[in-house]
Symmetry: C2
Subunit: 224 residues, 2 copies
């Protein structure tokens, strides 16, 4: 590897860490906006989404430049392609945080639903997954990546629990339907952020081990 | 461009068209399973998802090989990167069709809800977008790509209408809550398939015009 490429790869990692941090913070603020009914935090997330979008373009641009300039092969090529994919996932996670913030802003204007409190633990888990998947990528830490994939199952379970609770809420009091549907969306958005984190983690395993766990996992799930 | 690269690019386009066709068909079958209450179609979609996943890996592999072998620059590099991104979008559209099929399978075992019929038009629109975004990519047809982006707004509108209807249904009859929540998911999954088609279309515009409409559109929306 040339020194020049090495330096550029370092810069790319830093950019990705920055973007990961932005997405992590957006997720955090958006869910606090829901649970603590803080419209100001929701607005902060909505305002910050442009920055995440700009960062995505910056990273993509950097990757394209590196591919054209260094014409990397083998591991370096795979790393840059992984960054391109992860970059995409991060931008969509940012979008989902924005969607949560939009729901939060609406919910703040309506009477509270007790069930909203239950989102805190799920949100904490998802925030952690976002952090860990980026760490796993820049450190090429396969063990950490595999842990993220396992955590995704817990989030799916939490999501199912939120769905059951919210359906119960709507059945016992039809006046809650709009608010409960908003919270269903929040739950699903969180679950999707976790899915994206899992995509990133799977890319890390593929990058390091060359093993395609995405589809292995699928085949295993089918066989059970 | 070498003859070898030209031939490989042709193969790549064909693979992408095949995959696009698979996703289009899955979307189509999944929604028929919901509207016509055909569990057999739902099962067909669930079974076919593995093929879409395999195709994704094939396309990704092909792209990596082409990058390493031909070390393309400029337009060819951008095209291959676009294919990588689009490939990812298509796989996720396939997943969403699978999610719809899962909901359909559950709904088939429960008494019908009249509102399910209203999904046909929305589904037809989405299926068309899936078809058009792939055509736009392989033909580098910017006009078609722009049309896909506009169609996305109609789908968003349909999604909002489905949400309003379904909330009304739940409020007037709490016994419908589970089924209505399933249909909410179907509506959202369809809307997300359309979002992915829009991502693809935006990539086409970027590829051909070098214009980043994703974020332009966003800035414009904000300004309104």
């Amino acid at each position: 590897m040339t020194k020049h490429l090495q330096r550029d790869l370092e810069v790319l990692k830093q950019q990705l860490l920055t973007m990961g941090g932005m997405v992590e913070q957006a997720t955090d603020l958006a869910i606090s906006a829901v649970v603590d009914r803080r419209k100001d935090l929701a607005e902060q997330v909505l305002k910050g989404d442009d920055d995440i979008d700009r960062k995505e373009l910056e990273v993509e641009d950097e990757c394209l430049k590196m591919l054209a300039l260094h014409q990397p092969v083998a591991t370096d090529l795979r790393f840059i392609i992984s960054v391109l994919k992860v970059n995409n996932d991060l931008e969509r996670m940012g979008d989902l945080a924005k969607n949560i913030a939009e729901r939060a802003a609406t919910l703040c204007d309506q009477p509270p639903l007790a069930v909203a409190k239950d989102f805190r633990r799920m949100a904490e888990r998802v925030r952690k997954m976002v952090h860990e998947c980026i760490d796993a990528l820049v450190e090429r830490d396969v063990e950490l990546a595999r842990r993220v994939c396992l955590e995704d199952r817990e989030v799916d379970e939490e999501n199912r629990r939120r769905f059951a609770e919210l359906q119960q809420t709507m059945k016992s009091d039809p006046a809650t339907v709009e608010r409960a549907v908003s919270l269903l969306s929040v739950s699903r958005h969180l679950e999707r952020i976790a899915d994206h984190a899992t995509n990133v983690a799977e890319d890390v395993v593929f990058l390091v081990d060359g093993e395609v766990i995405r589809h292995l996992r699928l085949t295993r799930a089918r066989a059970q």
